[in-house]
Assembly symmetry: C2
Homo-oligomer: 424 residues x 2
């Protein structure tokens, strides 16, 4: 047994099964991310974040818990991390990106719901999610039918909080969401036994904004004609953003950004100038899922922008750094998060405008709309997005898929044909 | 051309295609509903409601419009009919229950969303829904991802109003919903050019409550050991409730109820005493869709209770008849509708309790959970419902299906086996 295995066994996990699942994630990581050439040196840290997600990082959190801090698992970027951090608690996104755990979810949940929900639940239900045993609170939300109804089942166990994300963005919705943020603060105060202090919140707002600025700077390098970093690597960094310690992650990312700036100055790029520039728009690709990015980039394309929850939706828009009273700061936090343009909103004109704007800013040749199977909201909104892109003279391709390998051949053909058809 | 065809042609419909689609609905109606024997005489009126839904009823509404009234199409039982009626407008549910129109929706919408949404949209998109051309306003809501996002596309055409049904039932949700009801009233006032008068609202509240009481009385006959009416016929009546003129429907239903009372007195039933008593729980079966009820009853079972939107959810709970100010009445209307226990709520303990309660009241032998394919909310909530029923000692079977005929053989086998296994 490795040191990690010993530790996971002590947590009560099914170590054999965990190793099988995590090995399949790791092989996938090697085959896609690590197989790339000419990567920036400082990507090594972020590779470590991914590979340590079920080992080193869990031990780190367990040590913090032993020292009295609380651990909060999340499933969505609508959960205000600022509040968790200001109370000395640790937020980690628990979303699953592996097909290996899905059969364990399908024993309880219907097969025809999205792979992200099934993968996540499968890890929990098969006793292979190392975060499960150390979790003090899980935070779900109401952004889609599948997640919302799954929380009903999971929350019976207690230690579960559901944030209601409204479905429109009118004045009443803002009030409702603001109230949800206040209630979330109260729940976390009760959990941690600490009182949210304005100075602490000011500090975590600044830290999260710094993290967002670093991610935005990383993304901005992709506007270059000669890209210093691949889309797959940017995805790895953003996946790490949802897992790693906030301050350490930000410092490491700032260092990576410096390296990329140097690369740009020295004219070091990751692809030929003829590579087609592609934006991926829609559903997130969380840790374990590198499928679409690897497909596009192994076909000679470049993913230059991610208009997803593991992309612009996570880092765009800062929390206004008002300082001042706790109330004012919480209002600013609530406002920033309600600005996220998930497809759960009706109407969602902000997102449509944002897709077209980003496509322009990143000078993309085409857009791939990425829809996780059975994700109704992104799937249906794809109709409107495709029409808007067409109106802007931009070709798009919708890909609906899950985490399985079975459709890779067929998808490769479609991606190849799409890239070939993009005019330069 | 028939008289109906002439009229539909004048409306601008594709009359040929409309006839093909409506003929398939009608053949289905003959094969299932009309094929029954020993039906109550007064079911004839409700058969006429179904068969006239694309002819006589459309002409009637067109005539009312010519006289200055407005026509409001709805897609869900959360739309407060009291307000529409009090402003002299006509509410009709436009939900589609036929597979014949689905291919026309799949040209625009994804295939893997629920058949109800696709059938409804298919009628609109193929220019075969006779209500389309005479519709002054369509009212959607946010009860599921598929409908919510479809409204984004449809509402571009204007004349569309989306009611936000919240996702929890806390104090803020009640405020939000109350506000939605007020905004809906304002929209309808603008549409009709009329001002909502308290006396008119009192009248429509009383009328809708009378309709609900009549539907509840109809359902209560199914508590008898010797049922005077089949489950299929009760479904036909409830489908008619969503289409027909409110007052006329209520009077005809009261007359049918009198006939049923007489049947009970005289010991006239529709099945042998050994027939297994089944509750159908979950998704609605709207006009055109008699699939599951026909399957159960042709297999020798009896559907004695519908815990669905074309069942108890439509008529249970009255609006409190406060009289008094407009504000007080609107608050009572809002409260009644938010009491509906659709699976869109998280948590939804009221529904779970209601399923178990109804199963007891109707002395059912088993419950069939009916899930329209890709309806995530009822599909996932079925896990909790099945556990609650099991806890109450009641067997249940989950059936996930669409409107197509292809799986009928397989479903028949499953229903047969389920009925056979039910203990008496």
């Amino acid at each position: 047994m490795t040191r990690d295995d010993e530790f996971l066994k002590d947590l009560g996990l099914d170590v054999e099964l965990h190793r099988r699942i995590f090995d399949s994630i790791d092989r996938n990581f090697e085959r896609t991310v690590l197989a790339q050439t000419g990567r920036p040196d400082r990507m090594a840290y972020f590779d470590g974040v991914i590979r340590g997600a079920h080992g080193e990082r869990v031990r780190e959190i367990a040590a913090r818990r032993a020292a009295g801090d609380k651990f909060v698992g999340t499933f969505c970027i609508y959960v205000p991390e600022e509040i968790i951090l200001a109370l000395g608690a640790i937020p980690v996104a628990l979303c699953g990106g592996t097909s290996a755990s899905i059969p364990y979810a399908e024993k309880m949940l219907p097969r025809d719901i999205c792979p992200l929900v099934k993968s996540t639940l499968g890890l929990a239900l098969s006793n292979t999610c190392p975060y499960g045993p150390i979790e003090d609170l899980a935070v779900g939300e109401t952004t889609c039918d599948a997640k919302k109804k799954t929380w009903d089942i999971l929350s019976k166990g207690g230690d579960f909080h559901v944030l209601e994300v409204p479905q429109k963005k009118g004045p009443r919705d803002r009030e409702l969401w603001h109230d949800e943020v206040i209630q979330f603060k109260a729940r976390l105060e009760a959990l941690t036994g600490r009182c949210l202090e304005p100075e602490k919140l000011t500090g975590s707002i600044r830290l999260m904004n710094r993290k967002r600025r670093a991610l935005a700077r990383l993304s901005a390098f992709r506007k270059e004609a000669n890209l210093p970093v691949s889309g797959l690597d940017v995805l790895v960094v953003t996946q790490g953003a949802l897992l790693d310690d906030t301050l350490r992650f930000t410092e490491k990312l700032e260092a990576l950004n410096d390296e990329l700036e140097d690369r740009v100055r020295r004219g070091i790029g990751v692809a030929s100038g003829r590579a087609k520039r592609v934006m991926i728009s829609g559903c997130p690709s969380v840790m374990g899922n590198w499928k679409l990015h690897a497909l596009v980039e192994s076909a000679g394309g470049l993913v230059v922008c991610d208009e997803t929850c593991t992309g612009s939706r996570y880092y765009e828009n800062l929390v206004e750094e008002k300082g001042g009273t706790l109330d004012a700061q919480l209002a600013a936090v609530a406002a920033r998060y309600l600005g996220i343009d998930c497809s759960c909103f009706s109407p969602n004109d902000e997102r449509i405008a944002s897709v077209v704007r980003l496509a322009g800013e990143y000078r993309v040749d085409g857009v791939i709309q990425y829809v996780l199977q059975y994700c109704h909201t992104y799937n249906i909104e794809a109709v409107t997005v495709a029409a808007a892109l067409k109106g802007a003279g931009l070709p798009s391709l919708k890909i609906v898929t899950d985490y399985a390998e079975e459709d890779t051949g067929q998808l490769r053909l479609r991606v190849d044909a799409f890239l070939e058809g993009l005019g330069r």
